[in-house]
């Protein structure tokens, strides 16, 4: 038995096909979801992928957040459905208030594409079980609006509760508070991060490493063993 993992396509989504490929490589079944459908097709988990939904006009993720598909998604995420937001997906999750804080333009004001080193700070979420706590990984980062901000209380709470899931190592590529690269909600089912694990699942392609694959095997194991 395998798990069915949905990938939502918004207008302007870019990494939807790549994310479905990563899910397939991990051994799960990718299911394409469409932003205009108020229907999650009974998937076991959802990935909101990278891209420039609605051109990132207004604010990254701000317009996509009001898509019909977000209604059931928000409701079910609150009830425990595993949701992963990558890059633009992370931005959508903060806009939808499924994750606290917000995303702003990189502090250097440029788009940045690089192979980014991260430390796994929480290997217990639905999406990080196949990593070791403290493990260092490298996966591609590419965005314009990657600066994570939140008020001091929120950041303190995230730190105290172990909800910072990934931290940038070596360089903070965008000015994110506390070098935060990814966070989770209290229940650990909703995770958002700026770097792109789906671009690091095959040798040869991209950076040539497969450090991103455990995201997809983690969720598969969790769902199959559930």
């Amino acid at each position: 038995m395998t798990a069915r993992i949905g990938v939502v396509t918004f207008p302007g989504s870019l990494d939807d096909r790549d994310t479905r490929r990563a899910i397939r490589i991990a051994g799960a079944e990718p299911v394409a979801l469409w932003h205009k459908d108020k229907d999650l097709k009974q998937v076991d988990a959802v990935v909101l992928c990278g891209g420039f939904s609605y051109g990132d006009y207004l604010r990254a993720g701000a317009i996509a957040r009001f898509s019909p598909v977000m209604e059931p998604l928000i409701e079910q995420a609150k009830a425990g459905l595993p949701v992963l937001g990558i890059c633009n997906g992370f931005q959508i999750l903060t806009e939808a208030h499924l994750l606290p804080g917000g995303m702003l333009g990189n502090d250097h004001l440029h788009f940045i594409c690089r192979d980014q080193k991260l430390r796994v700070e929480n290997a217990e979420t639905a999406w990080t079980g196949d990593y070791r706590q403290g493990q260092e990984i490298s996966i591609p980062l590419k965005n314009m609006d990657g600066r994570y901000v939140a008020d001091a209380r929120t950041v303190d709470a995230l730190e105290a509760e172990g909800r910072v899931v990934f931290r940038y190592l070596d360089v903070n590529p965008n000015g994110s508070l506390n070098d935060i690269a990814g966070i989770t909600n209290e229940a650990g089912n909703v995770v958002g991060l700026m770097p792109h694990p789906e671009h690091a699942v095959e040798p040869l392609i991209g950076t040539g490493r497969t450090d991103g694959l455990p995201f997809f095997t983690s969720i598969l194991k969790k769902l199959v063993n559930a």
């Binding site: 990563a22 609605y54 788009f111 594409c113 590419k142 792109h196 671009h199 040869l204 392609i205």
Partner: protein, 752 residues
């Protein structure tokens, strides 16, 4: 607002004496007379708008056509060519049922006026050419040239251009996998912003720009039409017909990459459902171009109702609508039974789509406005029968003096210390320095098929996930070489791009080019152009790589001063299995470095002569295309059979530049030994063509040298991958840290 009367065809026929502003629209007197002769009457305002824009240099290639013919006449036999010159972009067979389309275009002038938007819309335009062929765009490249690196205006232009290319390409989800950044004072007022794109499709999905089948509908879809880029038409509209015109028409076009992303998706979905008979993107000359080209390439005529075009600005006149260059629009020809489904797909993607006309069984292009017929022409006369100039050309009188000013006679470093200092200076010079500050603003990873991207010798994209089939592309050009000798310069550009593709293990298949020159009205420039085209056509014939399409950009000059003649050449290659690709970076200590090819004293136009002496003179390196072909075969065989682990072609900066790049990328140094028969200076800095440096695992050395020996390619052992420095035995050593510091800090220090 009353226009009395509408300038219909009947009205034009009845009022032969009305004066039209043909000169303001850029037509010459004889060209206007030719239009009158073709029509047998004076043109209507709308017809004049169409002829003037389609007969412009940009659309008709009137100055370059007589030379460009050579690309067809001298085309090599190639089984790979599926669609040649003349379509939106050429199409090449890459095997396993896949076809690849690619093309390079310029957006030079708009990028100088408004760097961000000019460059952004340049990317938008070339990508639409690729979609129009039926392909999914899979990558972009951006050969760029700017004025002096430390000139204040470069700081205005470059960051804007780079942000614009990134802003548009990143938002479309196209990995940027290669390009060039060159600084030279000659481009000060005329930066060159060239952009290339590649697309992939199955053979059966190739689409052409033609409208056939009477009754088929013409659908305009994408952005609404605004008053973009219609300077000429506004003159026409206001002066001749209507003085109540708003004068405000945008001077600059703003791109909407989000809209274009939707266009890509809905077009590909329509293709997949076989809904499209013919398709054309709207670029320069907008609807004038799309309707006349679709109609003239098809079997019948076309009737268009201009009132049905969705507008962004309701005050536009019909002439302006016909000439508008608003971005992110496409035109499709669809059978009546499939129109509903086509419109449904557009709606799914929130793309505005409107039936604006239909294919007729006549042979006229007829356009209506407010019930009156304002255009009635033979579309071929608009699209294909533009003027052709035989512009005079002559070798400039300064060419001999330039070539006599021999760079080989420049003072050379007198000591090891001086040699070392010059190496450091070269590696940190703006043209040789790392372009990471620029290229890290581009997404290299999106689509998940990028095998190689900058700073590799060529970009490489996986086409088939199962078989590992891939394509590679490299773009090159060297205006300094071309200035010294345009014929050889063009061949050197071709040779370098060809070599760059082969260095990564791919087999070069076909060529696209972007020819950037000064004013064709200057016989010296025209000579440069003629020589460059001749050189490129001869070179492509010899290498067996047909030119599949390209672009000409003329008038790149400020006053009397033209840019260096700058033919930029893109070579496309194919690799059976991307797992066999060869990277630039040194992989393992202990591997042996072999220099392939012959090294001669060749410093004309070299990076060394520029960086150390600020000199341009003499002759460029000699070209030997047979040698290039042999080198390519060796590099491809060696990659396929696992005999080499890294390779880097030698070009500007010579051997030392290449070795430093491989060392820095791999984080491993090299110990070099100057081979017998060469002095250290020539060994390090010469720019002789037809060379590469490869790293051979010791276990493969014999097999590799035997292969080179058997095929007659000189292969000289020049060192070993080792340590944390680049050392030239008996001369000097530079640590990787030291090299990295200079190589990587130059560009940020100038621009950040």
């Amino acid at each position: 607002m009353s226009r009395t009367p509408l300038d219909t065809v009947e009205h034009a026929a009845a009022t032969p004496d009305v004066e039209l502003p043909w000169a303001e629209l850029g037509l010459k007197k004889d060209e206007y007379e030719r239009v009158v002769e073709i029509l047998g009457r004076r043109p209507t305002g709308a017809e004049l708008a169409m002829y003037s824009v389609m007969w412009s240099e940009h659309c008709s290639y009137k100055s370059s056509k007589v030379h460009l013919r050579q690309f067809g006449e001298k085309a090599p036999e190639s089984d790979a060519l599926l669609v040649g010159i003349g379509e939106n972009a050429g199409v090449v067979d890459v095997g396993q049922g896949y076809a690849v389309t690619f093309k390079v275009e310029s957006h030079n002038h708009p990028s100088y006026v408004e760097p961000y938007q000019g460059a952004a819309t340049g990317v938008g335009g070339i990508v639409r050419d690729i979609i129009a062929m039926g392909a999914r765009p899979v990558a972009v490249v951006d050969p760029l040239r700017f004025g002096a690196a430390d000139h204040p205006d470069t700081k205005r232009v470059l960051p804007g251009v780079v942000a614009g290319i990134g802003g548009y390409g990143n938002c479309l989800g196209l990995p940027n996998i290669g390009g060039e950044v060159v600084f030279d004072a000659c481009y000060q007022g005329n930066p060159l912003v060239n952009a290339g794109a590649i697309g992939v499709m199955r053979h059966e999905d190739i689409h052409l720009a033609k409208a056939s089948g009477a009754g088929n509908k013409v659908i305009l879809y994408g952005a609404r039409t605004g008053g973009d880029g219609i300077g000429g038409a506004s003159i026409l509209a206001s002066e001749t017909f209507d003085d109540a015109k708003p004068s405000k028409r945008p001077a600059v076009q703003v791109g909407d990459p989000f809209q274009e992303k939707l266009l890509i998706e809905c077009t590909l979905e329509a293709f997949a459902e076989k809904l499209v008979v013919g398709i054309q993107d709207l670029g320069a000359a907008g609807l004038s171009c799309a309707t006349s080209e679709l109609a003239s390439n098809g079997s019948g005529g076309m009737r268009v109702t201009l009132d049905d075009v969705p507008l962004r600005d309701s005050t536009l006149s019909p002439e302006e609508i016909l000439m508008s260059e608003s971005q992110e629009r496409m035109c499709a020809v669809v059978e009546p039974a499939k129109v509903d489904r086509f419109l449904e797909i557009c709606e799914k993607w929130d793309v505005i789509a409107t039936v604006i006309g239909e294919v007729t069984d006549g042979d006229r292009l007829e356009i209506f406005w407010h019930g009156g017929k304002i255009v009635d022409v033979d579309p071929r006369t608009v699209a294909h029968d533009g003027p052709v100039y035989e512009r005079p050309y002559a070798r400039p009188d300064w060419q001999d003096a330039l070539q006599a000013d021999d760079a080989n006679k420049l003072p050379r470093p007198a000591s090891a210390a001086e040699l070392k200092a010059q190496v450091l200076k070269l590696v940190g010079s703006p043209n040789q320095a790392s372009k990471k500050w620029i290229t890290s603003q581009y997404d290299h990873f999106v689509q998940g098929n990028t095998v190689l991207a900058q700073p590799e010798d060529s970009g490489m994209i996986r086409v088939d996930e199962e078989s590992g089939l891939g394509v590679a592309i490299a773009t090159d050009g060297n205006g300094r070489y071309a200035k010294l000798d345009p014929y050889t310069g063009a061949q050197l550009a071709l040779a370098e791009a060809y070599r760059n593709v082969a260095t990564t293990g791919a087999k070069p298949l076909a060529v696209s080019d972007c020819l950037n020159f000064g004013s064709p009205e200057d016989p010296a420039v025209m000579w440069q152009f003629a020589e460059a085209v001749r050189g490129l056509a001869d070179g492509c014939l010899q290498l067996g790589t047909p030119v599949t399409g390209g672009n000409v950009s003329l008038y790149n000059q400020t006053g009397e001063a033209a840019i260096h003649p700058t033919p930029v050449v893109a070579v496309l290659g194919v690799i059976d299995d991307v797992a066999r690709r060869t990277p630039v970076a040194f992989q393992e200590e202990g591997q042996l470095l072999y220099l392939l090819g012959d090294t001669r004293e060749e410093f004309g136009g070299s990076a060394w002569s520029q960086v150390v002496h600020d000199h341009l003179g003499g002759l460029p390196p000699a070209v030997d295309l047979e040698r290039e072909r042999l080198l390519a075969e060796i590099l491809i065989s060696a990659s396929r059979d696992g005999m080499i682990d890294s390779a880097h072609d030698l070009s500007d900066g010579g051997l030392v530049q290449a070795v430093v790049e491989s060392a820095l990328l791999g984080g491993k140094g090299a110990r070099l030994v100057v081979p017998d028969g060469l002095d250290a200076f020539t060994f390090l800095f010469s720019e002789s063509a037809g060379r590469a440096v490869v790293a051979v695992p010791r276990s493969e050395e014999l097999r590799f040298t035997d292969m080179c020996g058997a095929r007659g390619l000189p292969a000289t052992r020049v060192g070993v991958v080792d340590g944390a420095a680049v050392e030239v035995q008996g001369e000097f050593a530079l640590t990787l840290d030291e090299l990295r510091e200079t190589h990587e800090n130059t560009i940020p220090a100038l621009l950040a």
